[in-house]
C-alpha cells in the first residue's frame, strides 16, 4: 500500500494524518476522561454518557444563539462562556441522575447498565422533541476558523488546535484535581476502600454524587468542544459510546495515564489507516486489534497494582 507514493509524499501524509490523529486523540480523550472517572474510578457503567456530551453540545448551541442575538459584540468569546454553562448544566443533571437512579444500583453493575441505557433513550427523545430531528451546528467566531500552513503540503486547522488545547487543559486539571485537591483525594479514597473511607469520616454518599456529577460535567465540556468540529443531532451520542468505553477499558480502567495512552494509540492508528483503507475498514481494523489485545491482556495497557 505504500508503493504508489514517493518518500516525500509519504512524509507529508504521515505528518497530516498524524496531526488529524492528534485531533482524533484529543476527541477520544475528552470523551473518555469523564467516563474514566465514572466507570474507571467508580465502576458505574454509564451508557448515557454520550447523551451527557450531547447536552453540553446543545447548551453551547443555545449560548451561541443567545450571544449572536443579544450580545453580538461579545460573540468572539462566547465559546468559553458556553463551556462553563455546559459544565454546569451537565454537572447538575449528573448529580440529579446519581441521586435518583445510580445510588440505588452501586452493587448491581449490570443493572446500572440497563437503567442508564433507558435514561439515554429518554434523553434522546427529549432532545428530539425540543431541538428537532435535524442536526444543528454553531457558527464559530472568525478567529477560530481557517487553517495555518506549516509547509506547502501540510496545513493545520485552527479549530483542531483549540480542541487539543482544551483537552490538554482539562486532562491536566482532572489529574491535578484527583491527585492534589481535598475532594479528589476523598473520591479516590472512597473508590479504593469504601468502608475504610467511611470509617475515617468521609461522607461517602456525597463524595459519590460529586464524583459522578464531575464525570458528567467533563462529558458536557467534551460535547461543547465537539461543536467546533461537527454538528449535533439527537442520536449523535450513541455513535460515541462504544469508542468511549473501549478507550477506557483498553487503557486499564483505573488508570488516568492509561486512558491517555490508549486514546493516543487508537486515534493515531485509526487516522493513519484511514488514509490507506476506507474509513469503515480502518475503524473495523482498529477496533478488532483493540479487542484482540484486550482478550490477551484483559487488564488493559496500564493497571493499578492494588490488593483487592
Amino acid at each position: 500500500m505504500f508503493a504508489d507514493y514517493t518518500w516525500a509524499e509519504l512524509g507529508s501524509i504521515f505528518a497530516m494524518q498524524g496531526f488529524s490523529g492528534l485531533i482524533l486523540f484529543s476527541v477520544l480523550l475528552l470523551m473518555a476522561l469523564g467516563l474514566a472517572i465514572i466507570f474507571g474510578q467508580m465502576g458505574v457503567i454509564n451508557m448515557a454518557h454520550g447523551e451527557f456530551m450531547i447536552l453540553g453540545a446543545y447548551i453551547t448551541y443555545l449560548t451561541s444563539n443567545f450571544f449572536s442575538t443579544f450580545l453580538p459584540e461579545l460573540f468572539g468569546i462566547y465559546f468559553f462562556i458556553a463551556i462553563i454553562f455546559a459544565f454546569i448544566g451537565t454537572f447538575l443533571l449528573g448529580a440529579f441522575v446519581e441521586w435518583s437512579l445510580i445510588r440505588h444500583l452501586y452493587k448491581r453493575p449490570l443493572d446500572t447498565l440497563l437503567a442508564t441505557w433507558g435514561l439515554s433513550l429518554i434523553l434522546q427523545q427529549l432532545y428530539r422533541t425540543i431541538f428537532g430531528t435535524r442536526e444543528v451546528g454553531v457558527s464559530l467566531p472568525d478567529w477560530m476558523m481557517g487553517s495555518y500552513s506549516l509547509t506547502d503540503a501540510i496545513e493545520i486547522p485552527i479549530n483542531g488546535m483549540i480542541v487539543m488545547g482544551i483537552t490538554l487543559f482539562i486532562t491536566v486539571g482532572v489529574y491535578l484535581f484527583l491527585q492534589k485537591s481535598r475532594k479528589g483525594k476523598q473520591s479516590r479514597a472512597v473508590v479504593q476502600n469504601r468502608a475504610m473511607a467511611g470509617a475515617v469520616g468521609i461522607n461517602t454518599a456525597s463524595v459519590d454524587r460529586f464524583t459522578f456529577a464531575l464525570g458528567c460535567g467533563i462529558a458536557g465540556i467534551a460535547g461543547a468542544t465537539f461543536t467546533m468540529i461537527g454538528s449535533t443531532g439527537p442520536t449523535s451520542g450513541q455513535l460515541y459510546i462504544v469508542d468511549t468505553f473501549l478507550v477506557v477499558v483498553f487503557g486499564g480502567a483505573a488508570s488516568l495515564l492509561g486512558t491517555v495512552a490508549s486514546a493516543f494509540s487508537i486515534g493515531q492508528a485509526q487516522s493513519i489507516l484511514e488514509f490507506f483503507l476506507s474509513g469503515s475498514m480502518a475503524k473495523v481494523l482498529t477496533l478488532l486489534v483493540v479487542i484482540v489485545i484486550l482478550m490477551l491482556r484483559p487488564q488493559g495497557l496500564f493497571s493499578l497494582k492494588v490488593r483487592r
Partner: protein, 371 residues
C-alpha cells in the same frame, strides 16, 4: 427411577405454564389474528429465541452479553444467503451484467460470487452453518474471555464492541453483504414460495414448534446439574472453583448455547420477514433483546417468550400511532424493570397469581385423590 428423574425435571408449575404457552402459541393466537398480524407475532417470537438464550446465560449464569444481535445476524444472514442464491438464478437475473449472482453484487461491480458465498448453494450446509457457526464464534469469544476470568461488565462491553464492529463491517462491505439495506427480495425455499399466505401460516407453526422445542432444551439445562452449577457460579464463583469445577468451561458452554438459540431465531426471522439487515445486529437491537429477557423476568424461560411478545407488540402499537412516545416508554421500561420489578413479569406472576392457581390446583388434585 426414570420416572422420578422425569418428575424432578418437570415441576407442576413449569409443566402447567408450558402447556398454557403451547396452547396460546399453537391454538389461541392463530385463531384470534389474521395472517398479517400472525406473521408479525411470528417475527416477535423469533426474538424470544434470543431472550431464552439470555435467560440461560444472564439470568442463570450471570454472563450478560450485549452482542446477541451478532448471533441473531449469523443465523439470519446464513439463511438469507441461501435464499438469495436460490432467488438469483441466471434466468431471474438475466438483465445484470453478470447474471447468476445476487443483484447487489452486480450493482457493486462484482463479477463473480465471493468464495464464502459458494457453500450456501447447499441447504444442508446452510442448516449446519446456522447451528455450528455461532457455536464456534461463541466458543472463540467465550474461551478468550472466560479462560482469563474476564466477566461481568467487561464481557458486556466487549460483546457490545463486537456487535458494533460487525455492523460497521457489514455496512462497509456492500458488495459482499448488501450493505445497509441487507439482503432483500428473497423468494423461495427449495422451490417453495415463502411469500404466500399459506407459506406464512406454515412458517409460523414451524417457528412456534421450534420455540417450544428450544424451551424444552432450556428447561432440561435449567434443571440439570449444569443449571444448578451455573446459579452457584453466578452467586459465588470462587466457591465453585474451589470445589474443583472448571468454571470457565461451563460459562463457555452456556454462552455457546445462547448463541445457537439466537442464531435459530435469526434464521426463522429471515424466513418469515423476508429480509436480513444490519439493523438487527448492532448495539441498539442487541440491547433491546436484553430488555425482552428482563421484562419477562431474567430467571424465567417462559417469561422470556411473553417478554419478547409484549415488548415488541407495544413497540409496534406505539411506534405506529405515537412515534414520539415510544422511546420515552422504552426508556421508562428499562428503568422500571431495574428499579421496581427486577424479576419482571415472571416475578409479578409468582407473587400475585401463582398462589391462587396453586390453591385451586391443590383442591382439584385432592378431590381426584379422594374419589
Amino acid at each position: 427411577m426414570l420416572q422420578s428423574k422425569f418428575k424432578s425435571l418437570t415441576p407442576r408449575n413449569d409443566v402447567l405454564s408450558f402447556i398454557v404457552l403451547a396452547i396460546v402459541l399453537m391454538v389461541l393466537l392463530p385463531i384470534l389474528f389474521d395472517i398479517f398480524r400472525l406473521n408479525l407475532i411470528g417475527k416477535y417470537l423469533t426474538f424470544a429465541f434470543v431472550a431464552i438464550g439470555l435467560v440461560l446465560s444472564w439470568g442463570l449464569g450471570g454472563i450478560l452479553s450485549l452482542g446477541q444481535g451478532v448471533f441473531f445476524g449469523i443465523g439470519g444472514y446464513a439463511m438469507a444467503m441461501f435464499l438469495k442464491l436460490e432467488a438469483s438464478t441466471p434466468e431471474n437475473t438475466a438483465i445484470q451484467s453478470t447474471p447468476g449472482i445476487p443483484d447487489f453484487m452486480d450493482w457493486n461491480q462484482l463479477t463473480a460470487l465471493p468464495w464464502f458465498w459458494e457453500p450456501f448453494h447447499s441447504f444442508t450446509f446452510t442448516v449446519v452453518a446456522i447451528i455450528v457457526v455461532p457455536a464456534i464464534f461463541a466458543y472463540i469469544i467465550g474461551a478468550a474471555m472466560f479462560k482469563r476470568r474476564v466477566g461481568g461488565v467487561y464481557f458486556a462491553i466487549i460483546t457490545q464492541a463486537i456487535a458494533a464492529i460487525m455492523t460497521i463491517l457489514i455496512i462497509g462491505q456492500q458488495g459482499y453483504t448488501g450493505g445497509v439495506n441487507g439482503i432483500t427480495d428473497l423468494r423461495t425455499l427449495l422451490g417453495w414460495d415463502i411469500r404466500t399466505d399459506s407459506a406464512k401460516y406454515v412458517l409460523y407453526f414451524v417457528n412456534a414448534f421450534l420455540l417450544l422445542a428450544v424451551l424444552v432444551v432450556a428447561q432440561y439445562i435449567r434443571k440439570s446439574k449444569l443449571g444448578r452449577l451455573l446459579v452457584a457460579m453466578r452467586d459465588s464463583e470462587d466457591r465453585v472453583r474451589f470445589s474443583g469445577y472448571d468454571v470457565s468451561n461451563f460459562k463457555i458452554f452456556i454462552f455457546c448455547i445462547a448463541g445457537i438459540f439466537s442464531s435459530i431465531g435469526g434464521a426463522m426471522f429471515t424466513l418469515q420477514v423476508g429480509f436480513m439487515s444490519p439493523s438487527l445486529i448492532g448495539i441498539v437491537p442487541s440491547i433491546e433483546m436484553v430488555i425482552f429477557a428482563a421484562v419477562g423476568g431474567n430467571l424465567s424461560i417462559i417469561g422470556a417468550v411473553y417478554g419478547a411478545l409484549l415488548v415488541n407488540w407495544a413497540k409496534t402499537i406505539l411506534s405506529e400511532s405515537y412515534p414520539e412516545i415510544w422511546l420515552f416508554a422504552m426508556g421508562a421500561l428499562f428503568i422500571a424493570v431495574v428499579m421496581a420489578f427486577p424479576k419482571g413479569l415472571a416475578g409479578l406472576y409468582e407473587t400475585y397469581i401463582q398462589p391462587k392457581v396453586d390453591k385451586q390446583l391443590d383442591k382439584w388434585f385432592k378431590k381426584e385423590k379422594a374419589e
